[in-house]
């Protein structure tokens, strides 16, 4: 066994290496567990959203799918299914009804399930098959409109089908606004025999794909350049914009949490390294007097650190893996679906965090250690030049780099770095003044109060450093708590329990009163009615859209398709005026689409409404809260411009599960009215939000536990001095009650001030995060100002007393000998 390892074994016995190893393990395991967990959540969200798409990826096309695309997908080993959707008349007995039919392959859907029922207007159960040939599944509404039941025969074009199931939900088309007629599903193999698809019919073809991420990405790269007008590549997260948004924010949060974990592990590493170096200064000096050369010492430390790193990384990765398994299993009961397995490839993140924090915090200190003059053994003041600034600079740069690596960007790390620098400055200024004040208030050392407060100033620099560590950890915790609560509150507010989940379209003005009566009888909440006229923007400031955007791609949403136009005298619920005058004789445009098309007040839009052309200036810009699920419009025109066109009306309603059956039955009186049910999507979003909230709480708990460990390590790092002092005090006759009181006062004061400063810092950071990262409104968090000092005093006193309990128990003689 080499000298290095013998020294190392002896060091392990003394506990110094263990502290370093612990810090490394904390670093690696927190970052690993959070990284892995985030990965699993992301995969899970992707899967859940895939259920809404019925596939991992989808190509939607207005013309038939080219065979090359199928062949390529098969070559890549992807699963594929197809769906062809079209509007057609269905006949049964003497009734006929326009309906939305999907013809699907046997293996459809690739993700998620059909929801079907055997009783009319039932709530449905998941069904893992698609219709067999000759079968049709019809929605309950279609069944009641056609007056048919299971076993009856319906005609679609030239073919006959027997009704096999009542369709509650087709996973792949729940959000398609195109599909507002009652639905039916048949097998794709039967499509040809119906002969309903003739050249010129409006048909939507979908190629559904599922498979591994890499292959999907490869396929996307291959297929997107071939996409023509009317063809789209779709991913799950684009599907419902709101889901994408919710998940996006949750990911930002988890990323933030991970970043903070990186900072905490940096702090832990810095503390442990500093302690290690301090304890080894004399040892190295002595070894040098015994003839150890710098080369040998460098070799010894490099070897020691390598062994340490390998051990710490392995143990840390194992613990991290275990921890995220525990988090996941705790969450399992709350999740509707099973979390996918984490990807092993994410492990490198934890390991590299450990490596980098070791490199930036340990190595510079070790270099200082190796440079110590052997003269120190004779002259304790002949230590090494304190190149501390340089050391901290390296640490800072390293942490910044790690955070950038972790978040894949610069914004979050920059905010955090500025915050940490600001806090350090604040701590230095406030801490120094307070300690000084405490000192001048207490002369003589007779009570625990006086001893406690006086010692704050006596060990000024270490105490300031300790204050900084406490403040940083508490601040990081407070930031997470703040972000978490505003995020969750935001979500809950966004989607209230009874947010409208159905839309009524194609309602004639003569039907409005009747429908109002029926829904009132059922006690169903309903939004206002909005008139709706279809129209298309054809020119901007007299330049035609074709001229502005000769290429299909990049065309702003506002010009891309036919829009629903409305008029209104008052701003609807969830609308807010940004600029201009809503009641002026002009257009009111939604802010985001206006931004996308680069429009501002005064620009003139030419709109083609059923062949007639109107040109109007933009007179107001609004924001719209899409989360209210009210009917909302990109463009609102003045009443005068629209009132002469035939309008139909739209409204949104909330229909509870219990109301669904009577409601659908009632609505079958109005066969021309289209009903769009977005309840499934909403439920999905609510489930995801629920899971996210739980996940976020757990991650928060994890990080805070890691934070507590770092606090403990930080208190331990000053333990020697405290032990020495406590022992001295007791030798000098102080009762241990007095020593305990003094320690309590000292830690309590440190905790109180760090809590206060942390609250200031957290509030400032939250402002930056809300404005720049989460893109939400900045808000004030009174809770933090209570929580900060409270946690500071309680937790830090508790940890302090716990860590220094030996000061009070061990006979003073033993302590003095050991020092």
């Amino acid at each position: 066994m080499s000298f290095t390892f013998r020294l190392m074994l002896r060091d392990i016995r003394s506990g110094d290496l263990v502290t370093l190893l612990m810090a490394l393990i904390i670093s690696v395991s927190t970052v690993t567990s959070i990284g892995l967990f985030i990965d699993r959540l992301q995969l899970s969200f992707e899967q859940e959203s895939a259920n809404l798409l019925a596939a991992d990826r989808l190509i939607r096309s207005d013309e038939g799918i080219s065979n090359d695309w199928r062949v390529k997908a098969q070559d890549l080993g992807l699963q594929l299914a197809e769906r062809t959707s079209f509007s057609t008349m269905m006949f049964a007995n003497d009734a006929l009804q326009l309906s939305q039919v999907s013809a699907v392959t046997d293996n459809y859907p690739l993700k998620g399930n059909f929801l079907v029922d055997d009783t009319l207007f039932g709530t449905g159960f998941a069904f893992n098959e698609s219709p067999k040939t000759g079968e049709v599944w019809v929605s309950s509404r279609l069944a009641s409109l056609l007056n048919i039941k299971i076993g009856d025969i319906v005609e679609v074009g030239d073919a006959e089908f027997s009704v096999a199931k009542y369709l509650v939900r087709d996973p792949g088309s729940s959000t398609s606004a195109f599909a507002i007629s009652p639905r039916a599903v048949i097998n794709l193999a039967d499509l040809a025999s119906t002969n309903v698809i003739i050249p010129g019919s409006r048909v939507r073809y979908s190629l559904l794909l599922a498979g591994a991420r890499d292959e999907l990405a490869q396929y996307e790269e291959w297929v997107t350049p071939q996409l023509k007008e009317g063809q789209r590549w779709r991913t799950p997260t684009q599907q419902g914009e709101r889901i994408g948004d919710t998940i996006g924010r949750a990911e930002s949060f988890l990323l933030l949490a991970g970043t903070l974990a990186v900072v905490m592990s940096g702090v832990a590493m810095a503390l442990a390294s500093a302690r290690f170096v301090k304890r080894h200064l004399m040892q190295v000096a002595i070894l040098k007097t015994l003839g150890a050369t710098p080369k040998l010492l460098t070799k010894v430390f490099v070897q020691q650190l390598s062994v340490l790193f390998v051990a710490g990384a392995l143990i840390g990765l194992a613990i991290g893996w275990g921890m995220q398994e525990i988090i996941a299993s705790l969450l399992a009961g709350l999740m509707s679906t099973e979390l996918p397995e984490p990807s092993i490839s994410r492990l490198w993140l934890g390991a590299s965090t450990g490596l980098v924090s070791m490199l930036v915090f340990c190595i510079p200190l070790m270099l200082r250690l190796i440079k110590i003059s052997p003269l120190s053994v004779l002259q304790p003041n002949a230590r090494i030049e304190q190149n501390t600034l340089f050391v901290y600079l390296i640490g800072f740069v390293g942490m910044y780099g790690l955070m950038c690596l972790y978040t894949n960007g610069f914004l979050l790390p920059s905010i955090m770095t500025v915050a940490i620098l600001g806090i350090s400055l604040l701590v230095a200024v406030i801490g120094w003044s307070i300690f000084k004040l405490g000192r001048s208030l207490t002369s003589g050392a007779t009570s625990g109060w006086q001893i406690g407060l006086a010692s704050l100033y006596r060990r000024l620099v270490p105490n300031l450093f300790q204050l900084l560590v406490f403040t940083l950890i508490i601040m990081l915790g407070l930031i997470l708590v703040g972000v978490k609560s505003s995020l969750i509150a935001d979500w809950q507010q966004q989607l209230p329990e009874n947010a409208p989940n159905h839309y009524l379209f194609n309602v004639q003005s003569t039907q409005i009163d009747q429908i109002n009566n029926e829904t009132d009888n059922l006690n169903i909440e309903r939004s206002d009615w909005y008139p709706m006229v279809r129209g298309r923007v054809t020119a901007v400031n007299e330049t035609s859209v074709q001229e502005l955007y000769p290429e299909e791609r990049g065309e702003p949403e506002l010009y891309e398709r036919e829009l629903n136009l409305t008029w209104s005298d008052t701003l609807g619920q969830g609308n807010e005026l940004v600029s201009g005058d809503f009641n002026a004789e002009g257009l009111s445009v939604e802010q985001d689409v206006a931004k996308e098309a680069n429009l501002s007040l005064g620009d003139e839009l030419t709109i083609n409404i059923g062949g007639n052309i109107v040109t109007l200036p933009i007179t107001s810009i609004r924001t719209v809260d899409w989360g209210t699920m009210q009917p909302n419009f990109y463009l609102i025109l003045p009443k005068s411009a629209l009132q002469n066109y035939p309008a139909n009306f739209v409204s949104s309603l909330f229909i509870s599960e219990a109301d669904a059956q009577p409601f659908y039955k009632t609505m079958s009186q109005f066969p021309t009215v289209s009903i769009l049910n977005v309840g499934d999507v909403l439920k999905q979003i609510q489930t995801i939000i629920g899971q996210l909230s739980q996940a976020i709480q757990l991650v928060l708990f994890c990080i805070l536990s890691a934070g507590a460990l770092v606090l403990l390590a930080s208190v331990r790092s000053t333990l020697e001095e405290r032990l020495e002092e406590g022992a001295l005090l007791r030798v000098l006759g102080a009762r241990s009650a007095l020593v305990r009181q003094a320690l309590l006062i000292e830690f309590g004061a440190l905790g109180l001030f760090s809590g206060l400063i942390a609250a200031i810092g957290a509030e400032t950071c939250l402002y930056g995060l809300q404005v720049f990262v989460f893109n939400s409104e900045a808000s004030f968090h009174p809770l933090l100002w209570l929580l900060g000092p409270l946690i500071g005093v309680c937790v830090i006193s508790a940890i302090g007393i716990f860590a220094s309990r030996t000061v009070l128990k061990v006979p003073p003689m033993l302590l003095l000998r050991g020092l």
Binding site: F3, D16, I286, L290, G291, T293, L378, A382
Partner: protein
């Protein structure tokens, strides 16, 4: 061959920078110490004795002048070489013992041999501890030993590398008379039995007189005491 020169010092000066300005501690010292000699350096507190000892042992770099160990330039070497030469020629005993607190007595004594890659380190350390009368304390940690015992371990460690020159800075300064005498006896015994050159800083006149030569440090100059 008669006595060869163990240490040769020419025009040694040492200046340090402190916060009150430059301070010249050693002002042109010349001396020679022969092999196997025992030399005491005496002088008032703060006169520069420890500084000189530190320079002789290569623990620090002097400002000007030269130090030779066995006719090899020593002070002009880099730290790497000086460390190697220290390992080869020099042993050190300190006033405050300077044992490694995390190592057992025997492990402390094994260190020098281990640094040289000696396989028999443990066996030799045992013999040395036996010689200083501590065979029953092998696995004790420094904080479990009395001051005198710690200094005996330190002496055993200093002799473990079989140094040609042993430096001792007030080796008895922290000990009572009885323990001090024991330490001194050990030092001189080993000095005689192994022919080790002994250079010792002390405040104790009786101890100084036991040495072959006495050098007096005063105001940065070194004079031979020829009483």
């Amino acid at each position: 061959m008669a006595n060869s020169t163990a240490i040769k010092v020419t025009n040694l000066t040492h200046t340090v920078t402190s916060n009150t300005g430059n301070l010249t501690i050693l002002k042109g010292i010349n001396m020679e110490i022969q092999e196997s000699e025992s030399v005491a350096i005496v002088g008032s507190s703060g006169s520069g004795k420890s500084t000189l000892l530190g320079l002789l042992a290569g623990l620090d770099v002097n400002t000007s002048g030269d130090i030779f160990l066995y006719d090899q330039p020593f002070s002009s070497q880099n730290e790497e070489t000086r460390a190697l030469m220290r390992g080869q020629y020099v042993g050190f005993v300190f006033q405050s013992f300077h044992l490694l607190p995390s190592l057992q007595a025997i492990e402390n004594v094994m260190l020098p041999a281990e640094l040289k890659g000696d396989k028999d380190a443990r066996k030799k350390a045992k013999e040395l501890l036996d010689k200083v009368g501590l065979s029953h304390r092998l696995t004790h940690y420094p904080n479990q030993l009395s001051g005198g015992e710690q200094q005996r371990v330190a002496i055993a460690r200093a002799f473990a590398s079989q140094p040609k020159i042993l430096f001792a800075d007030e080796p008895t300064g922290n000990l009572d008379e009885e323990n001090g005498n024991l330490i001194i006896k050990l030092l001189f015994d080993l000095n005689r039995s192994q022919g080790t050159t002994l250079v010792m800083v002390t405040h104790d006149n009786d101890l100084a007189k036991m040495c072959d030569r006495q050098l007096i440090m005063s105001a940065g100059h070194l004079t031979e005491n020829k009483l």
